[in-house]
């Protein structure tokens, strides 16, 4: 009786082991699940590897009502960067609505958005990107370099293309499958420093610069650029201070900086901490006096709202788009939508950047559709990702985003899709006085010994 019981238990355990071992062995075959899907009926063959891609063909399929092009959009709408995430989400979705409703989608295919909030949180961002891949999105976008930092390795490993609105050099150096919509935080520093040396600095010798950096890729971008080019450009970095996104006072670090008598203070951070730093600089009597420059993450309306217009009067900052008052072809439609759907966002440069991002999304899809046709993209699998990257992202050649930002163009080995920045100044509570568009040179950070260490 006892042996029988033992026999039954052993048999059940053996069966259970067999059932469980089968998928285990199947799963450990060292290949991506997503990369194994193929379609024998696909008229266009885009195989792995740069040299084995067959010539693209156009298909003449007529779009059906259910045929859509799916894109994943992630914004930090909640969490510590929500003051930027909310207008970015608004603009992304408003523009997609405009493309679908008024332009009839892309070549007749509606853009289907898989939108998710990242909460500026790594766990949530990772799960979001897995969902985008699983849902058959053709590529995904994030707003911030930090969000992209959390997920870029997952995307790069899978060959899933990503577009980040505000990038840091670490997002695409070395270049893989992540692309930057605008010049990165390193380019901001270079652009501002060049502008400062040519237009503001009146002294002799090298001006002394202090860096106030956010403790993430936003700050690291400026730090890397300064490390690479400070000597070449002719500035002396006298202090590098770091702060958290949640900082409420930087009096201590600014007191140290003040003792070093800098000529210029450069802040690479988000609006909240930047507002704290500028207010503290005013309280310490440093500003006005020193020149203050901020990166594009901070050069937005919320900086003025948080710090107060009188406090930030005269602050310089870079931004990769035009401002609301400018008369460019793309402004009218965007203004119409913001007035209609999100009037609170009017005047916020973040809205322009995200609106432009959605227009670029449509252009990438259009290029890919023109080159490989809908059937290849419809599957949303690894082959579709490869096609969208090769025939969408990498075919961008001077796309004019209605004049809202610099021309969008891919250059081999440079995953920044736009290389142009402008330097603005806050005057009477408005971001104004733009400089001409300045092209940011490509800095190959990966060639420096210190990079990533």
């Amino acid at each position: 009786m006892k042996n029988r019981k033992l026999l039954i238990i052993t048999t059940v355990i053996c069966l259970a082991l067999i059932v469980t071992a089968l998928p285990l062995l199947g799963a450990c075959d060292n290949t991506e699940k997503t990369s194994t899907t193929t379609s024998p009926t696909t008229p266009v063959s885009v195989t792995a590897g740069p040299t084995t891609t067959t010539a693209p063909l156009k298909t003449s399929a007529t779009p059906g009502s259910t045929e859509t092009l799916k894109v994943g959009i992630m914004t930090p709408t909640t969490g510590i960067a929500a003051e930027k995430g909310v207008p970015l989400q608004d603009a992304n979705l408003d523009c997609i609505k405009y493309i679908n409703d008024e332009l009839g989608g892309v070549n007749g295919y509606k853009i289907e958005v898989d939108w998710l909030d990242s909460n500026y949180n790594a766990t949530q961002a990772v799960a979001n990107v897995k969902k985008f891949m699983d849902d058959g999105c053709l590529f995904f976008t994030t707003s911030s370099s930090t969000e992209m930092g959390y997920v870029q390795e997952i995307a790069n490993r899978a060959g899933f293309p990503g577009l980040v609105a505000y990038a840091s050099p670490s997002n695409y150096h070395p270049p893989q499958h992540i692309y930057g919509q605008t010049p990165d935080y390193g380019d901001d520093w270079i652009g501002f420093t060049n502008y400062y040396l040519k237009n503001v600095w009146k002294g002799t010798g090298k001006p002394k610069m202090a860096l106030m950096l956010l403790n993430n890729p936003t700050g690291a971008g400026a730090k890397n650029a300064a490390k690479a080019l400070a000597d070449t450009l002719g500035v002396e970095i006298v202090a590098t201070e770091e702060h958290a996104a949640t900082t409420v006072s930087e009096m201590e670090s600014l007191t140290r900086v003040k003792a070093l008598k800098p000529d210029v203070l450069y802040i690479s951070s988000t609006p909240k901490p930047s507002a704290v730093i500028i207010k503290n600089a005013v309280e310490l009597g440093m500003f006005p006096g020193v020149t203050i420059g901020v990166c594009h993450a901070a050069m937005v309306k919320s900086l003025i709202d948080l710090a107060g217009a009188d406090v930030v009067e005269g602050v310089y900052g870079t931004f990769p788009t035009v401002m609301w008052t400018e008369n460019v072809p793309g402004m009218a439609k965007m203004t119409e939508y913001v007035k209609k759907l999100h009037p609170k966002d009017e005047g916020n440069p973040d809205y322009i950047a995200a609106w432009a991002q959605s227009l670029i999304i449509a252009e990438i899809l259009k290029k890919a559709l023109d080159n490989v046709g809908y059937d290849v993209l419809a599957k949303g699998d690894a082959k579709a990702w490869e096609a969208i990257e090769k025939y969408g992202f990498q075919k961008l050649a001077g796309y004019d985003v209605g004049g809202l930002q610099g021309a969008v163009k891919y250059s081999a080995g440079d995953n920044r899709l736009t290389k142009f920045n402008r330097v603005y100044r806050i005057v009477n509570g408005l971001i104004s006085s733009p400089s001409p568009w300045v092209e940011a040179p490509l800095v190959k950070y990966e060639t420096f010994d210190w990079y990533g260490k």
Partner: protein
């Protein structure tokens, strides 16, 4: 432990067994089959969610040993997870060591760091000890952000986990790796608390002075609790590093540390089942709110401007946690125990 009516233990082995009846065995086997065949019917996204649940669970088990069993309040657990994650990243990326070595080293290094920050527990307890563990969180992250070997704010990439020639590349293979290590950790955690060590932990938690009078070495056992708890955190960190493939200091925030405490409180402090239920509850709730509720509200309530539902997410999350703590303060594990008791007596509930 209460046993079903008519079930008796006739020897010591039966009395000590974790799985006691045929029904237990059958349920366990069915559960294992469901879990291990998951990749056959779950999409990659859900496998990813369960991978994160597994990693979080390992960390929560460690925290439960420290807080739930030994009564040593720690609010710096994310920092200890970061130690494990970066140890594994440095060993595999910079020094080219194999993953199994990195995994164990991550646990050991994190455990040793835990001992250092656990030293104040000999003198202070409760909220005072919590403050020292908060300090641990910030000190650890400062070092990570400023030590060149960790990549600083540029982050560091981490290769796929691999054992021998077997590389855990796909979501399904990572699921198996994580789930097997999670099961081993649950088994170890369950058994630790049934040993002399576990009883000493409970004695210290209930009354440390009485425990000392009975001969329990407070220094040794409190530091042991920190070592074990942080060892688990290190293992979780290592798995997280190889799963996400890149690490930044910001991934291990103070908010996460608080969330880990919330998970074990919601699950039920001082039970092995508690962290399992708490972690599953919180992680699933987060995903349901972010992926289902918010987009649903956005697409169906057109009278509000787009973006309005994002604010609903944290409100719902907070509301559910508050209601939970009011209505079931002893945790989900207690609710499960009540259900089991009712089931065993059914239909004679008197």
């Amino acid at each position: 432990m209460t046993l079903p009516c008519g079930t008796r233990n006739y020897n010591y082995a039966e009395d000590m067994a974790i799985v006691r009846t045929r029904t237990h065995w059958a349920l366990l086997i069915v559960l294992l089959i469901i879990v291990f065949t998951g990749p056959l019917y779950l999409p990659n996204y859900w496998l990813g969610v369960f991978n994160l649940i597994g990693i979080t669970l390992i960390a929560a088990l460690g925290l439960n040993i420290m807080v739930g069993y030994c009564g040593q309040l720690s609010i710096g657990h994310a920092g200890f997870i970061a130690v494990g994650a970066y140890t594994s990243a440095i060993l595999t990326n910079r020094l080219g060591m194999p993953f199994p070595v990195a995994l164990i080293s991550a646990g050991l290094v994190s455990g040793c760091i835990g001992i250092i920050f656990g030293l104040p527990s000999v003198r202070v307890k409760g909220f005072y000890l919590a403050i020292t563990t908060i300090a641990a969180q910030f000190i650890i992250l400062w070092i990570i952000n400023h030590w060149g070997y960790t990549g600083g704010f540029n982050g560091i990439t981490v290769p796929y986990a691999s054992i021998g020639g077997l590389v855990f590349r796909s979501e399904a293979s990572q699921f198996y790796l994580i789930i097997i290590i999670t099961i081993i950790c649950v088994f170890i955690a369950k058994n630790i608390v049934r040993t002399k060590i576990g009883r000493a932990f409970i004695a210290i938690r209930d009354n440390d002075l009485a425990a000392e009078v009975m001969g329990v070495n407070l220094l040794y056992y409190k530091l042991l609790a920190f070592f074990i708890g942080c060892f688990f955190a290190g293992i979780a960190g290592s798995l997280l590093a190889h799963y996400t493939g890149s690490l930044y200091g910001e991934q291990f925030s103070f908010t996460d540390s608080i969330l880990y405490v919330a998970m074990i409180i919601i699950g039920g402090l001082g039970t092995t089942l508690g962290p399992i239920l708490g972690v599953i509850f919180i992680r699933i709730l987060q995903r349901v709110l972010a992926v289902n509720l918010v987009p649903f509200l956005e697409s169906h309530l057109h009278m509000f401007p787009s973006g309005f539902a994002s604010g609903v997410n944290p409100m719902f999350f907070g509301l559910i946690l508050v209601l939970f703590l009011i209505l079931e303060p002893r945790g989900l594990a207690h609710r499960w125990a009540l259900f089991k008791s009712a089931y065993r007596l059914w239909p004679f509930s008197y």
